[in-house]
Amino acid sequence: SWWGGVQMGPPDPILGVSEAFKKDSSPKKMNLGVGAYRDDQGKPFVLSCVRKAEALIAAKQLDKEYLPIGGLGEFTKACAQLALGADNDVLKSGRNITVQTISGTGSLRIGANFLSRFHGGPRDVYLPKPSWGNHTPIFRDAGMQLKAYRYYDPSTCGFDFKGALEDISKIPEQSVIMLHACAHNPTGVDPKPEQWKEISDIVKKRNLLVFFDMAYQGFASGDIDRDAWAVRYFIEQGHNILLSQSFAKNMGLYGERVGGFTVVCNDADEAKRVESQLKILIRPIYSNPPMNGARIAAAILNTPDLRSLWLEEVHGMANRIIKMREQLVAGLKKEGSSHNWQHVIDQIGMFCFTGLKPEQVERLTKEFSVYMTKDGRISMAGVSSGNVGYLAQAIHAVTK
């Protein structure tokens, strides 16, 4: 056989959680590993605006001809507008190029490949510590190298602002720095606006290339403009950023793989040149992107009443998460926990870095059938009014 030397790949740590959860027969089991939104009954949620958009699209009886390499025009335009704001000067001057990508992962990979081929600066990409687990292998497979800057402070379960600034101030010029636009994954810890301003200043001083990952616009605070504030501020401050967007969570379009990749260039001519090279990168990976999700997203973004409905529904999802955070903390207080759980409320987005240690996590799983990743991260989406009390009990039991 050709394949005698092929080793068994290590199991995916997050998928492993779901596998174990499936096998558990406890009626009280909770899956807090999943990074997908669930409603208050613990079920996947298909947004009404999505169903309506699908019906509209089905009625049009459209063909299935290949999209251009860069994707559906009405989608990419709306995607850029959503991130930057419809009246952004960058859009007006045509100095951005936005291509449709295979959700957030595909977007990051295209960006990583583009950097690998065209970035004349250092090969190093600086990630916040910690970052989404897939960032590292994506950049590595694209030929880049990974470094880190301090981000999460385990002693406060909050942002290590001082540490971040110190580390960033030492990053060699022209290196790439990855920033999570909002709802940091996995910690849920976001810089405050005044902190973002200082970060922007130091990044500018160090002449770093900024790569924003925005996978949760709208999903973090419930307000799409608020969640895009950092991205827009940086552009305003003159950073020519790279930006990855995902519509997996905020439109619930997970499996349709809808995303965008944007490069903010010096001028429209440079944007055209960059676009031509992005196409050359994309063609040998998948030729052109899938239509279905992009059509849905475009219909939602470009149809006024669907867009309003979407904004309401995204607000609703964010609100449910925020409510669960509050109920969990209230529950822990009720259980008599003497610990400070304020970070559960201060953190934002789908994930919460509880601060639980691996041994405590193991106990939660073994004794209470509560499944989460070893780093103490829980997906608030897996919490509902029906099980938040049980979760508070369980966490209190392993931390008292």
Binding site: S1, G5, Q7, E256, K279, R283, Y286, S287
Partner: protein
Amino acid sequence: MSIFSDVPQAPPVAVFQLTADFRQDSHPQKVNLGVGAYRTDDCQPWVLPVVKKVERLIVEDDSLNHEYLPILGLPEFRSASASKVALGDDNTAIKENRVGGVQSLGGTGALRIGAEFLRRWYNGVNNTATPVYVSAPTWENHNSVFTDAGFKDIRPYHYWDAASRGLDITGLLDDLENAPEHSIFVLHACAHNPTGIDPTQEQWKKIAEVMKRRNLFAFFDSAYQGFASGSLEKDAWAIRFFVSEGFELFVAQSFSKNFGLYNERVGNLTVVAQDSDSLTRILSQMEKIVRTTWSNPPSQGARVVSKTLNSPELFDEWKGNVKTMADRVLLMRDQLKAKLQALGTPGTWDHITQQIGMFSFTGLNPKQVEYMIKEKHVYLMASGRINMCGLTSKNIDYVAQSIHDAVTKVQ
């Protein structure tokens, strides 16, 4: 000073540029024989009736949502149906649990995932020096896929014989004999793109014999199963023969053409391994490659295909739709040849009906192609390749006359 100020303008992808030029052209008789997508006799895209039916079923199914698929794709799509289409339901390798599938973004995605895997794990670890052979000519994206996957040595193997307008089997077999052991060969399962010339069964047997003896790796590109002859079995004969001969191989399957699902990006990388343990290890590594490329594949197209393939009535209906497309192409081939012969166009035109699938290598040279485009507003690739689907009962006379003029007026 922008970090991207040195980024050069890349040339456009030729086949898409051709369509762009065609669109700009206002000539009333213009014809687009460029990009490879099926057209009806009214020159319209065709959403297969079975696809429309299945999409309605999917919309009406409230139990379906938009959740993530597993990394390797929809289980009922992968080896459960897609791979079975290529290998046959009762294939021994499937029964022996040594066939797996990786749902991919079209045929391109399947090729890329397969190429990435081979670069990492074939012929040693990360052996970028393994030669990859592609046919001369071949689909131009083959080169880029393997290059971007990291292979440093992409070479042509003899294939098209301009003199006979057929297969250069001697040259091909020679290249196989002389290729370094373990070289990778990208083989077109049927309906060779761009020439339309396929090896006969006897020729495939010879190819397989040399490849087995010299330990060469077979990577099949199957983008036209069913579309070429109208028969799924006939179009998969070469793949099935190789599997029956004990080869471990890859098949990059596309459902773009035979399901007309172009923009949904439905493909499958079929992996045939020697045993199920190897398969398990291979698939675990495929997951890692997929995870950093697109994480998990799009669900819509795979749902349509698997629903169709897994239902006997829908499967039959699909085969009928496929035959409709294949038959129209065969009709256009017959008619084009007949008209050229009737016009007395110099040269022989048998190759038009001998070639198979969507494309035909007309034999027109670059000057004649330029004439066709500029003077006649008939758009075709510089290689002389035409998409038979662009021909209709309404334009075939004009196209035949244009070819006649090109051949007689331009040397």
